[in-house]
Symmetry: C2
Subunit: 397 residues, 2 copies
């Protein structure tokens, strides 16, 4: 018998991936411009020109033996210095290059962090709605996942529910800000309360609770909202970053884990991160991309199209009568389904060639996620379909 | 408490890495040209010009959104088709692109394969001497590692010892051809015997035994030796490949797993591979490198320097009186230590500024590994030191 859990994970596609495959087939049937695919969070704007130039320059002017050779397992020293500098610039806090661990993207940042700290049977808390792979990653690391629902509608942390969910077995909590699927950014005031709560709970049960911040959408915020530097609010914070969304490089798998110098036992936690990366088979993050992102610091792709799309979509859908949550960041709009069963609503939407992801896969009921990392034309073309979908429910009443 | 096993793996460097770090320090002290560092298996020849051109062409002429976007989790379809074509060309056997899984290099090929098939408590056999990370990877997947020594001196499979080591709990066996550290290639006759033995053992205990072939050195062979296509000899074979050594790209992390179409339950095994890649956080292999290696098929870097080094080093050391095993492939020379304790011998070698890896870390006693992926000048410059080292033992007698 091969490993049945892995077989299950490889056989059963995620709901998002399932819908994406349906979309590909449907487009082949009726034409790509007739299908309004809002299923996938794949950046639709190109990487910044500076990144392309950095790649060209590195390839033209670096000895290939050095350029494509192993870096040290934790990442090239100069790259880690550049990352630390960029993190210090945004946070105003001390960051140690020797506590930066370069990874193969956000998923690797999370799996390496989880395997470093989790012991079998430990509990890991996620705030629902949450990115569904958190369950896969946490369970593979031997943890038991505990879902804590956010406050309905605002999607802010429900501190009473969270407090009740923390046990002496709680080893970590994952937060995701801006959030996929809601776009919500956790405000500083909530982070302050969170830091306090976690510190109290640690004291109560003489335990260690790690706060894992998954921040791939950190650079994608609107209306001047900024994502606070979470280690400033809680001592045992691991920052998991990826350049996928900010630099439009999701296929290149490049990111990092930041262990704050002020964390108790920071060096040991960092060593465990290195050990987990080694045991999972990561060796080092892709070398060319390490050197390239180091040259692009806190740069981003031209994200203005997401801003345009967000405005167009949220204003238009609100006008039609949909109930939406205005996102602070990321490129997702979380919208109330027009019937209780979100999956049934999404099936209905398919009749109008609209591909929306039901919220059930994110651990909450009654909503849909609309990924607006698409062309503005696609949104414009889809608006009549959204209107017709809305009206089809009015007729029912 | 964080995970103590991961902490241990991150804290205790491998013997190879330890020696490499010593070398860096020593070079700073007395000058790089005075230290003869033979510790690390880092390719010393540049990637082929065709690879550099492929990268330049891809970056200049591909839409960045496509070039750096997610590929499907198992790898881009056209890339997998190119890999299958190259594998068919070398093997003359059917290869299915839909059973190729692109990975982040050899280590990932191994961890993903192991996690796909191993259940906790299963046994995994390795033939000593073996690459030390096999233990780390197998144990992380929940397996118990069983070492089976090869025949002393020839380093061919000891079939009696192997047969005795296989139990109903044996889930997999890892072979590595050409071998790190001996350079030995497993000949077709031995693979035929191996296939027969494993099939018999499967029948005896109604079990499934997977043969995992770690083949990163496959393209590096000498004197016309060819590495046989292992699935032709045994039905339940997984081929783990990496472009690191053949194309001199070790930092880029790109390789693949091949599931042969003739394997019983091939599709399920492949699905489990996909599931394991997902759960470990790999998402997809780096996209730019996927497209680049697909254009370089069975190409290699200019490996003639390794051929030159191998001849120079093995002839010179033999002449001096060292007992060597002539390697069929890879870029390692396995040499008998001049005293029983290989670690003590390597300490002695350090007095002559020779950095050699003791064989203990590879699971056998009394040998040293010399990595000759260095400049030919370094070998020439080191010969007097090897001679002096040898003579220091003659004087003792």
């Amino acid at each position: 018998m091969i490993n049945q859990k892995m077989l299950g994970l490889g056989t059963k596609r995620s709901a998002i991936r399932e819908l994406f495959e349906y979309g590909k087939q449907r487009k082949a049937e009726i034409g790509a411009d007739k299908v309004f695919d809002f299923s996938i969070g794949n950046p639709s704007v190109p990487a910044p020109e500076a990144l392309t130039e950095a790649l060209k320059d590195l390839i033209a002017n670096t000895d290939p033996v050095a350029l494509h050779g192993y870096t040290s397992a934790q990442g090239d020293a100069a790259v880690r210095a550049a990352v630390a500098e960029a993190e210090e610039a945004r946070s105003g806090c001390d960051v140690d290059p020797n506590l930066i661990y370069m990874t193969c993207g956000a998923a690797a940042s999370l799996t390496v962090s989880l395997h470093a700290i989790v012991n079998p049977g430990d509990e890991v808390i996620v705030l629902a709605p949450y990115f569904p792979e958190y369950r896969v990653f946490a369970e593979k690391a031997g943890a038991i996942l505990r879902e804590v629902p956010c406050i309905s509608g605002s999607f802010r942390i429900d501190f009473a529910a969270l407090s009740a969910a923390i046990t002496p077995r709680t080893k970590a909590m994952i937060i995701n800000s801006p959030n996929n699927p809601t776009g919500a950014v956790i405000p500083a005031a909530d982070l302050e309360k969170l830091g306090k709560l976690l510190s109290e709970k640690e004291g109560d049960s003489d335990s260690e609770i790690f706060l894992i911040c998954d921040e791939p959408y950190r650079a994608l915020t609107y209306d001047g909202v900024e994502v606070p530097y979470v280690p400033a609010f809680y001592h045992r914070t691991l920052v998991c970053y990826s350049y996928s969304k900010a630099l439009s490089l999701p296929g290149e798998r490049i990111g990092y884990i930041l262990v704050p110098p002020a964390m108790p036992g920071a060096k040991e936690v960092y060593a465990a991160v290195c050990g987990a990366g080694r045991a999972l088979g990561f060796v080092c993050a892709p070398s060319l991309m390490q050197y390239a992102v180091a040259k692009c610091g806190n740069m981003t792709a031209d994200l203005s199209v997401y801003e345009t799309n967000r405005k167009l979509l949220s204003e238009s859908l609100s006008e039609m009568g949909y109930s939406i949550t205005n996102p602070d960041g990321a490129f997702y709009l979380f919208v109330k389904a027009l019937e209780e069963d979100a999956a049934a609503f999404c099936e209905k939407a398919k009749q109008f060639e609209l591909l929306l992801v039901p919220s059930d896969s994110f651990g909450v009921k009654g909503y849909v996620r609309i990924s607006y990392c698409v062309s503005t034309q696609q949104i414009q073309a889809a608006l009549p379909a959204f209107k017709a979908l809305y009206e089809s429910y009015e007729k029912k009443d």
